[in-house]
Symmetry: C2
Subunit: 406 residues, 2 copies
């Protein structure tokens, strides 16, 4: 598989966080000759929060995480790639329980504090027979340095690992937030899904983590789309392994710099997802303003971002704003054709329900040839604003998802 043309030129080094160590091993789940099982271990029970897929057919690991999240304590996160353990019936539940039990046996903790995520093929039973041995092997090589290896082990159709980090200052002490993610179709159930794991050493209570994670997910992981298809397995976990007294108030002033770091890391990882979208050659930001409500703006933005005709036009570097009009119209949200303004980059192409008189195809084309394209739509009927991100739709996407027999 060739690496996305939008892959980062440099990968950040994630600094070690005291109290959290990582390891990746080859469990031979599906891939040959690569690590596919990742263990993240907390020395002391970490505070943990999570956001999961909205799918009505979630995977067994998602069910497990939801069930055990209420107490907000984690001793470990165990992730496998190559098999999603989704739509696997009773056997799916059993293999989740067995994996948690195996991990807890190795680490000496309760299975209920082991969180799981799986990504890969749907419907294939996940054979966990050898897992305890593999987890024991992972435990033996745990290290605070292995963020990059962990990010690689959770990959499926991803063409590069996804990592981000920020340091931030609280009352004169420097803390860190590290994050890894995977995903390249919003879902390709044979392979992809979106997973992310974030850990900070700032001591924060899980209820506060949950609040911040849920809020930021809306404008980051839930504001990106590759192909409009939602995985059965999407999972984002945010943990705090910080020692000392926990911050328990969401409005605590000490959280200020952490909130900025969290927003930045989640945004950066989301952009890495879009830029590794299956077959992607362009990163596309879509801003909708002047809508009736924020919700309405987001729906219109996603109608544009998910339109095959908009996405193929972008792949063809075609400033086809007629397709934007079409997508606004199909969203079913309040819109007034005669107030619509459409912009590619800094070029206004349409205004007041028609093409601008001095429209220059050449200027618009210049914008479309760039790697990163900003589309702005103003509806002129309210104050609702939203931004989402997507990539283009290329023949390569069809090839990745159609050119093989499972």
């Amino acid at each position: 598989m060739k690496v996305s043309p939008l892959a980062p030129k440099l990968y950040p080094e994630l600094p070690p966080l005291t109290g959290v160590s990582l390891a990746a091993v080859e469990a031979g789940i599906k891939y040959v000759g690569r690590k596919d099982l990742c263990l993240i271990k907390f020395d002391k029970p970490a505070e943990i929060a999570g956001v999961f897929t909205t799918s009505k057919c979630p995977s067994a690991p998602v069910d497990w995480c939801r069930k055990h999240l209420a107490k907000g304590k984690a001793n470990a996160i165990i992730v496998n790639s190559g098999n999603a353990n989704a739509f696997t019936g009773k056997r799916g539940e059993e293999s989740v329980a067995l994996t948690a039990k195996a991990t807890s046996a190795v680490l000496g903790c309760s299975p209920k504090t082991v969180f799981l995520a799986s990504t890969g093929v749907i419907g294939e039973p996940l054979d966990t027979a050898g897992f305890e041995e593999k987890i024991r092997m992972a435990e033996a090589i745990l290290s605070e340095q292995k963020w990059h290896e962990a990010a690689q082990a959770i990959m499926t159709t991803d063409t590069y690992p996804k990592l981000a980090t920020r340091s931030f200052d609280v009352d004169g002490t420097t803390f860190t937030l590290n994050g890894i993610a995977k995903g390249s179709g919003m879902i390709a159930p044979d392979m992809a899904t979106m997973l992310s794991f974030l850990v900070t050493d700032l001591p924060v209570d899980h209820k506060v983590l949950q609040k911040l994670l849920s809020r930021n997910t809306k404008s980051t992981f839930n504001a990106v789309t590759v192909d409009s298809d939602t995985s059965t397995s999407d999972t984002v976990l945010l943990a705090s392994c910080g020692a000392g007294k926990k911050i328990t108030e969401p409005n605590d002033k000490r959280l200020k710099s952490f909130k900025v770091a969290l927003e930045e890391v989640m945004h950066e990882l989301s952009m890495l997802l879009v830029r590794d979208g299956e077959g992607a050659t362009k990163q596309v930001g879509i801003t909708v303003s002047g809508a009736k409500t924020k919700r309405s703006a987001k729906r219109i933005a996603f109608a544009i971002a998910n339109s095959p005709l908009v996405k193929t036009a972008i792949a063809g570097e075609d400033a086809n704003w007629g397709r934007i009009v079409m997508a606004v119209g199909k969203a079913g949200e309040p819109a007034d054709r005669d107030k619509l303004q459409i912009q590619f980059g800094d070029i206004i192409v349409a205004q007041n329900g028609e093409r601008v008189p001095d429209y220059s195809e050449e200027d618009a084309s210049r914008v479309m040839r760039q790697d990163e394209i900003e589309i702005a739509v103003d509806l002129g009927i309210g104050k609702g604003t939203a931004k989402v991100w997507t990539c283009d739709l290329t023949k390569e996407y069809v090839a990745i998802n159609g050119d093989y027999r499972s």
Copy 2:
């Protein structure tokens, strides 16, 4: 452009209907060397009904038709291809009014009884300067025989003309329903859109026509999708040019055979749309049963039909039922993973939340290699049922919509 592999082997001959004549001329709107302006003239005012796009940014001709439909009388339908006259502001309204006026001048009727449809590029002003002359040329060659020519003149990215006809018996007299349609992306605003014009010689009041047209549209034209993109211009018109006393009651027994004919013609035209879907190599029927409600069933069916991952799997002849599970899950409608049953053709692949024990990849593959594929999903939680149709998503779709600069 190469003709769809799913094109019909034979085209039906549409019999002449007394009281309606057709003509097509070259107006040079966009295409060179082909007819792009179609006139349908009724000798006496016909009864007329219509269904239009749900787009919030409809084209100027759609606005015009909606405005004048209340009276239900038509002397003519005038259709152009090559320019959608959508998002053209005040000038769009003017060119619609001018076209209606020109037609009425030639035919000697009120402009309000002239119905219009346009399909083609969005945002380009439609130059109607020469229209009156062209309409006069069309009027001079009107003929009851020219259904095939009319069907060709309204084409855009269509690779073949779409025609259907049925004869039916009412109280010992034979009547006819003729229909033509165009469309190959649900929309490709540079080119496509879905239009259909249906005429019967059975004398039926426009209010009854409207009722029957609206009802049947749900299960035919509004139950097919190529790319999930809704045109600004979709228009279906149903006219009756029948002489004699009109049928004014929707439950009149004399309508029985007409209702069957209408359903059949609309279904046939819808299938011709799907089979000419941009880049299509497969016709796919998706039946969802056992949903909470009919509406819920239809939403799930469309979530499957519009999923890029389902459609690329079908293009790859891959019985990837995991992607069906994903699409059911993402629809957001009530569903119980552990009651789901999924079937390709007559092969049950998954049941009770997991793959069937005797699943045979080979049997499933045999189904996937066919031109016409039936997918059935039973949710097992209610009585709601719906059926929709789509085509596969191929590299050819991306090529048609991305491989050019407008």
